[in-house]
Symmetry: C2
Subunit: 380 residues, 2 copies
């Protein structure tokens, strides 16, 4: 972990190993990592050609630096761009990218690189999994959310008209390069959104980390070495859970703290990111999960307030009323939740908590109690 | 192995175990198996609901029997049909099926069943792999090709405009039920096409099996217990190779005997099945592989003639001239082969042979020699 002041460029780095047998890989974390990305990739994939997939916004900001470092390492590469935004995670872009990757005549040992946020990572990862039934895959996550969450664990996919992330593959990258300096160009709203996931790791399983975040969040936002540490600790937390449960049979569900409600909210606003981005949904969902846990007598109001205080301090929304515009009623929310992929054979599974750092998976939650709870929250 | 005369309906069965750690599964082979399919599926997937995918031709012939057996076993199921034919293995059908499966609200433990030939098996398997990032998958192959080849080994996928099977996943079924009686309704041309793969298993690695086929092929075509034995021995041959090399890193390439040329032929006729079906391409490709091996001095003309004699006896095409209509020139074929997924880093990989039962993988074949060879074959 970084405990000195960040030196310029590439000297301050953390590595998190994701342990998955033959599919194990490293997540490298540090400021300026993008400038040595070429060398890092060559050491893992010697001789491979690359197809870099980026959204147009990220391409405009960081592609030059990335491409320069690939050139410096002698890596032959082509670039494919997609529009920025959640609606890019669709069948049409999936098809187009698979076809365009094939048109570049990449072979199976060559690699697809996702340079971007979670949207590009999820989409490009699914493309990598499917093209020639699996090409090597490298993630260069450029949002905080992608660095601490979506680039760890191998979930890839696109959205269907029936819901988010319902089509995809479990597919692991061979390398993840998280340059924390590229986050300097991230709009504050997106940084905050990613921070909701950082806070989640503390809340679900690591009270010490949550304590540390309450003290250090400003430095994380400002880009100090605390940012690298926060990213590394978050990746480690997720990597540990994923290593124990790669295909999401059990404990991995803990990562969905705040997400059952959060996904329902995203769906309810039709994934209109002007109204709600993923981490904002997670933030409100996390509050709801704590409030619901309090309602069930699992935690006290003081714990609810502490979470509320921290999320509010960093500027995250915490109430359903913080979402601009109309929301559907409780019954509609329940329908959305029932179709969510966290549902198992008709009974509702929720992530609840017995205190900060002590979330747990509760199967068989009574839908009637949830409906009642949501009704109150919607019309307080 | 069946060594008695087939008893009526369901009593004569063979089981081939495909050994892949936690993804191991059984292939059950026998006449009339479809009538007890429900019970077989319940024993592997208790409580699962099913979505059955079939092409319209197969649905017309065998869906009633299958559906009746599911009902008898109390299995809740829905049916989705697709048009018959290779062009169904496309992005559009993939997307439609994923969406339609989601619309049935199947959950992750529920299953998708492919009832049909290789087209439906490949497409439905890819849908199963991608929907909710992986649902349980059962194959009920109804063509000889699907029973002996495409349902074994876990390759699933669709075609791209850049070539056949270029988009897909490695995804294993939990059970394969091969009812050899459903092959009675298969047009002779499709039966022969599948038989090209049966002969391939003898040619690539089992001279005894090829001897046995030379003696018993008529009984296999007629539907005697020899058919069950041929299917079981073929599945076993493929299962052994797949178990040793699930992700096609090495020896699995032997299964491509006849396929590099065969795929190029299918591509050259734009997958128009009126002109050429898969096994016909394989048959001609297998002859070309033997002739090319003879050209390189690896086998004698007597071996070439013996293969020629058997494939001709069963009615399979063996020469490029057997394909109706114009074919492109040798250079175009080479371009097609270069884009074929069997190409590794620019050098051509072919499956050649040192005699019946002794195929081997040859990397780095000189494209110029192949071009020369093809020129002669195209303009004899
Ligand atoms: N695979 C997983 O396990 C997993 C986990 C969580 C979330 N997700 C998915 O991640 C997606 C959300 O990810 P996201 O929040 O990164 O969204 P995103 O990829 O859309 O990025 C958000 C915005 O930031 C821009 N951007 C990215 N990097 C930038 C930079 N360095 N500077 C300036 N702008 C930049 C993008 O162009 C985009 O407009 C969702 O689709 C969600 O489903 C996946
Ligand atoms: N996944 C693999 O490992 C693998 C291996 C070899 C081939 N394949 C694929 O398999 C496909 C070819 O398979 P196929 O030859 O089974 O084609 P197919 O599925 O199109 O079936 C051929 C025809 O027979 C009909 N049919 C199927 N069962 C019947 C029955 N019992 N009675 C009457 N008609 C019936 C179908 O409707 C179709 O018209 C190709 O797409 C090829 O790429 C895949
Ligand atoms: Zn999330
Ligand atoms: Zn074949």
């Amino acid at each position: 972990m970084a405990d000195t002041i960040a030196a310029p460029a590439t000297s301050d780095r953390n590595t998190v190993r994701v342990d998955l047998d033959t599919r194990s890989y490293d997540i490298k974390i540090g400021r300026g990592l993008i400038e040595t990305a070429g060398a890092e990739i060559v050491s893992v994939l010697p001789g491979a050609r690359l197809c870099v997939i980026a959204d147009k916004t990220v391409a405009g900001l960081h592609l030059d630096a990335f491409s320069t470092s690939l050139d410096a390492a002698g890596i032959v590469h082509t670039v494919l761009t997609v529009p920025a935004g959640e609606s890019t995670k669709c069948f049409r872009e999936f098809e187009r990218l698979c076809d365009d990757v094939l048109a570049t005549r990449l072979e199976r040992g060559d690699a697809i690189v996702a340079l971007g946020g979670g949207v590009v990572g999820d989409l490009a990862g699914f493309v990598a999994s499917a093209t020639r039934r699996g090409m090597a895959f490298v993630q260069v996550p450029t949002t905080l959310l992608a660095q601490v969450d979506s680039s760890v664990g191998g979930k890839t996919g696109i959205n269907s008209r029936h819901g988010k992330n319902l089509i995809g593959a479990f597919y692991q990258p061979v390398l993840v390069l998280a340059d924390t300096a590229v986050l300097d160009t991230l709009p504050i709203r997106d940084f905050r959104s990613g921070y909701a996931e950082v806070a989640k790791y503390g809340l679900l399983g690591d009270a010490d980390f949550f304590d540390w975040l309450e003290v250090n969040w400003k430095a994380i936002f400002a880009g100090g070495p605390e940012r690298d540490e926060a990213v590394a600790r978050s990746c480690q937390a997720k990597a540990d859970i994923v290593a124990a449960d790669e295909l999401e049979a059990g404990q991995r569900a803990l990562l969905n703290l705040g997400h059952t409600f959060g996904h329902a909210l995203e769906s309810a606003v039709s994934y209109e990111t002007e109204r709600l981005v993923h981490g904002e949904g997670v933030s409100i969902g996390t509050m709801l999960a704590h409030e619901f846990s309090a309602r069930l007598g699992l935690i006290g109001e003081d714990t609810v307030m502490r979470v509320h205080r921290h999320l509010t301090a960093v500027g995250l929304p915490v109430r359903l009323q913080d979402i601009p515009g109309q929301l559907p009623g409780a019954e509609t929310f329940m329908d959305i939740i029932a179709q969510d992929k966290k549902v198992s054979r008709g009974s509702l599974t929720f992530i609840l908590t017995r205190g900060i750092g002590h979330a747990f998976v509760e199967k068989g939650v009574d839908p009637a109690i949830v409906t009642e709870f949501l009704k109150e929250k919607l019309e307080p």
